[in-house]
Symmetry: C2
Subunit: 258 residues, 2 copies
């Protein structure tokens, strides 16, 4: 069954969606079969992969409430080997609406368990919203590990200890296998001395859990979603694409070592 | 009683906290008495204003659950005329914990009503988390108007219609006076053609609700919080500070006109 990674950080705008889309694309480019689960009501991952409204009829909300099996909600993307379960508009109400749902924290985990034998992926990346509520909790309970994008900015350091505590609590109460897959530094700007300070702080805090690959701030990365494409398809040679390719190979080396 | 503005946008990292801190500072600098309510569990506004742990014992969580009156939770900041009700760590659990609270959407509104005559401010700015859940709902119910920071990036456009629908629903169900105070474009980068495209789209969508003042991407703005200061105190002459001063004067002209 697939290795499931939750791409999570409650700080907003740190590059969760961008990392989910482009790391998934880089993994798919080397032949891994990859699924993205768009668990963010904003649906940026679905849009950033160019999904038309017609492909966004059934999605993660339907899987959460048990109205659709995982396999029935999977749609292909323009990237070979990469599929997605999209976010639909009704996901926005899920946090408040589904408070009384049975086994509410296990809905995604149960959906993957029920899908065994009906889907065939090597990796699943779950794009989480910027909060540690019901949706992110579902991702952490279903995941094998957490990939933490961390923007090289001062405010981004603030929520880290809260995120780590939450991961520990989920491991104790719901999902004993949950680990930190790694921390990836994003939007690193070599002209800005703050980037270096934050990067040094994070490496001091997390040690070798921090990937060597650092994703640079690169305007092509932020342009790509307006063309409905991952940056690897929009501009393969740019520094952002090259960094995500490096990150994918570093992740695969890490996986092979375990 | 004070004019209450909710600084809200469920998209993450668009400059909500940065706008709350620096617009508040610019208003305080021209003699307005300003209060910031830090409703974001990350507590970035409290940290960005240099609050020590000792000043963060009572906060918005205590006000929400009725354990502290608003006046008792207000602490001064290093900026004359600017005070804050800080965020404390227990705010992180509020969304899930307080689901069954009586008049749960009106907790902040009721606290301001009860505080009449005990606090004396011209403006209150409420810094909201990147979600449209219980905390942001409380801010929208208590507010006179919503200030929407909007990052000049493609993904930032996606959630706008959802935010507008939420404001309309709050106006119909809970708070008939709620209006849009204005939309402020943030992190505008004149070297990036995407910034212009997004700005043009937003002006087309919102018309004159969009402030003329545009906040440029400026590294001094992101450095200031690591010194526990608003950028106006960290580097008054930089383009970020000047833009927030312009925004404050534009807002005050708007207020005088009504
Ligand atoms: N390396 C990069 N260089 C330049 N821009 C980037 C980079 N990575 C992400 N961005 C841009 O920064 C913004 C925030 O990134 P993104 O939306 O991926 O973050 P997020 O953590 O998913 O946000 P949210 O918390 O709202 O879900 C987006 O507009 C994106 O295009
Ligand atoms: N004009 C600007 N120029 C450069 N950096 C900026 C600017 N405005 C904000 N930033 C930086 O961008 C990051 C995001 O801004 P901020 O934290 O204020 O957004 P937010 O909307 O409050 O985020 P969240 O959704 O997590 O609450 C911060 O690191 C901040 O320092
Ligand atoms: Mg996202
Ligand atoms: Mg904030």
């Amino acid at each position: 069954s697939p290795r499931i990674l939750a791409v999570a950080n409650q700080k907003g705008g740190v590059g969760k969606t961008t990392t989910a889309i482009n790391l998934a694309t880089a993994l798919a480019a080397v032949g891994k079969r990859v699924l993205i689960l768009d668990l963010d009501p904003q649906g940026n991952a679905s849009t950033g992969l160019g999904l038309e409204a017609a492909q966004r009829q059934t999605g993660t909300y339907d899987v959460l409430i048990g109205a659709a099996a995982m396999a029935a909600a999977v749609v292909p993307t323009l990237v070979p080997n990469l599929s997605i379960v999209p976010a639909t508009a009704d996901l926005a109400g899920a946090e408040i609406e589904l408070v009384d749902l049975e086994r509410r924290e296990f809905r995604i985990a149960d959906a993957f368990a029920a899908a065994r034998g009906t889907i065939d992926f090597d990796y699943v990346l779950i794009d989480c919203p910027p909060a540690l509520g019901f949706l992110t909790l579902n991702a952490l309970v279903a995941a094998d590990a957490v990939l933490v994008p961390l923007q090289c900015e001062f405010f981004a350091l603030e929520g880290l200890s809260h995120l780590i505590r939450t991961i520990e609590r989920v491991r104790e109460k719901f999902n004993p296998r949950l680990r930190i897959q790694g921390v990836v530094l994003t939007m690193y700007d070599k002209r800005n001395k703050l980037s270096d300070l934050v990067a040094a702080d994070v490496r001091g805090f997390f040690g070798d859990k921090v990937y060597d690959t650092v994703i640079p701030r690169n305007v092509r990365v932020s342009e790509a979603p307006s063309h409905g494409k991952p940056v690897l398809l929009y501009d393969l040679r740019c520094s952002g694409s090259q960094a995500y390719i490096m990150l994918a190979s570093e992740l695969l080396k890490q996986e092979a070592a375990h």
